[in-house]
Amino acid sequence: MTDLYQTQRAMRNIRRAALQRGVIGILDIGTSKIACLVLRFDGTGTFRETDGVGPMAGQVNFRVIGAASTRSRGMRRGEIETMAETERAIRTVVAAAQKLAGVRVDHVIACLSGGRPASYGLAGEIVLAAGKVGEADVASVLAACDTPDFGRGREVLHAQPVNFAVDNRSNLADPRDHLGNKLFCDMHVLTVDGDSIGNLVQCIRRCDLELAGIASAPYASARASLVEDEQELGAACVDFGGGGTGVTIFVKKHMIFSDHVPIGGNLITQDIAQGLRVSLPVAERLKTLNGGVEATGRDDRDMIDVGGETGDWEADRRQVSRADVIGVMRPRVEEILEHVREVLDAAGFDHMPSQQIVLTGGGSQIPGLDGLAARILGPNIRCGRPLRIDGLAHQLTDPSFSSAVGLALFAAHPQDEWWDFEMPADRYPGRSLRRAYRWFKNNW
């Protein structure tokens, strides 16, 4: 875990350098689309009252100066399948966003939606020798968390301290300088497949970009679409993506659970293509323009031209009723929601104090989804749109861009992670000069 610690620290430093330069890129690589935002950090911190963007969540010190999105290529289920294709798509979107922004983007923050995420809750405790929590004790209690075997080739994407406790005083956000004998901590660790991260890093590096941070896509979209109260009181965010559906649970402003259902919007499109015998682009058009999950009597009479350019006139002039499309889509959406329900049950969402569920992502735009989700997931459902940020064009503010917006917030205000704390001296490699330096610094 040490070299990961070093990589993440290096990325943090790159992020800080990028903020110093003032320009940072956001790269949301999804299964169905790739979005790139170019953020300008002018550092004024002054709140500009532009089109309803309030100074709520610390999104005021940056501004979007260039945004572009394009169809994703070479991606499958949130993972890179064909590196060259994905690289081309990244080049397309970065070139477009750069052109719009008029500045060169050198540092990007990317997110990874697939990679079979697995979340772990870890607990650690140390005895406080000094009777008081010091700077170094926080790091050593984080290091003292007993890590389970993550499995081969797994990389830690997020390791966030969720809760600290000193003796019997729990729910401490910042335990420093508390007096006590024992320090406990709870840490949430999200691991993903190391190879998929490696592929992503490789793709981005081949586009001459430097990676300044990496985040999990469900985490990013939850940060963008859950409002502050929901993050504080506890809520689940369901991110309907193209290749999969991410589920994140937040409480006390920390992610405590994240999982991934590998069924997404692309599968719905595929169902429509198979069920109505149309090509995939036509199916995608039918889904986005005429899709739904609640059939009414009027939908039976609502005939849709299938269209298409197959050359078979008879096939291209077919008409299907909207009820047909809904009839194909609904079972698949129900299946997704059932899986989400299972994931939430496994996470123990029933025991959470608040049962709020927020649907976001491109798939949450299916009309009537909230009604169906309310029946399967629970009564407190809302469709969440991402937080408004300054300078983002209106067509980029729909729910499918919530992970891009969340990454922008992540770039501006990252939450504390394990690697933000100094490594305890005994974790440094032996006979290291830094180790001696740390020991002197801590003991003198």
């Binding site: 394009t70 081309r88 397309t92 970065v94 070139a95 750069q98 500045v103 001459d208 006139w313």
Partner: protein
Amino acid sequence: MPVVIDHRPGKQITPPPGRQRRDPAPSRLKYRLQRVWLTPLYRRVFRVGVPAFALAMVAGLWLADEDRRAMLTDTVTTAVTKVQSRDEFQVRVMTIEGASPVVDRALRAMLPVDLPASSFDIDLAALRLQVLQLDAVETIDLRIKPGGILSAVVKEREPAILWRHARGIDMLDAGGHRVASVTSRDVRADLPMITGEGADLATDEALALFDAAGPILPRVRGLVRRGERRWDLVLDHGQRILLPQTGAVIALEAAIALDRAEDMLGRDIATVDLRDPTRPVLRLGIDARNTIRTARGLPMLAPDGSILPEETEG
């Protein structure tokens, strides 16, 4: 449009398939070039540096040849001369108003070019400064009028006073500026005379004093500047009125009033000393003093003030 439209299925004229849509992704070279272009340094170099360098290079190479440089200067000079020597810019006549014949001749001699000449060759500002060096000229208004006329409106200095000094006699105007020299006092007998070191610096006061001296003016011979601070009014018969440094005019008026009342100046008085206005002092003439001394039985005085030896009767 065909005359008969075929409505049978499958026979519709389908538009020919367009060119295969190429990959929308920029090639790696294009991507890198765009990024280079977005780098501020490169952008500035390519937008400003390279064109400026090319321009300077071309100009430098072209001008490196001596013949071309000469040709360029020739062309420019010819063009400039051609424009300047156009008929519209020619100055043919010089008219001078308000100048005496002497000044007129001097002005015409000062014109640096022979008329007709181009108006570009006449530097009016320099000419004006040169003309103003002449003492006789107070102001001059030089302009080139349409029709090729160089018009000079001259205002000459009016001589107001004569100033006798060690090097001769000068005429001064009311401001004390030299107008011209005269050979003798008789050339301008109508002007009052002043003398003394620094007298030209106080001509206004001198003129005021001459104005104030109205009734006794026929007797006034002139004013003498004393110590560059006060005036002596010199009358005929060697009489002198010593005026104070300040309030000289008032003092003189007081003296004239005395003269009117008591015919002071008609008596044998050598000097009226008004330097202290509160205490006028008279110095009697030698005859008057001798008369008084005779009456008192004192020995008489010589004209230089020494006491004469007692003359024995007979």
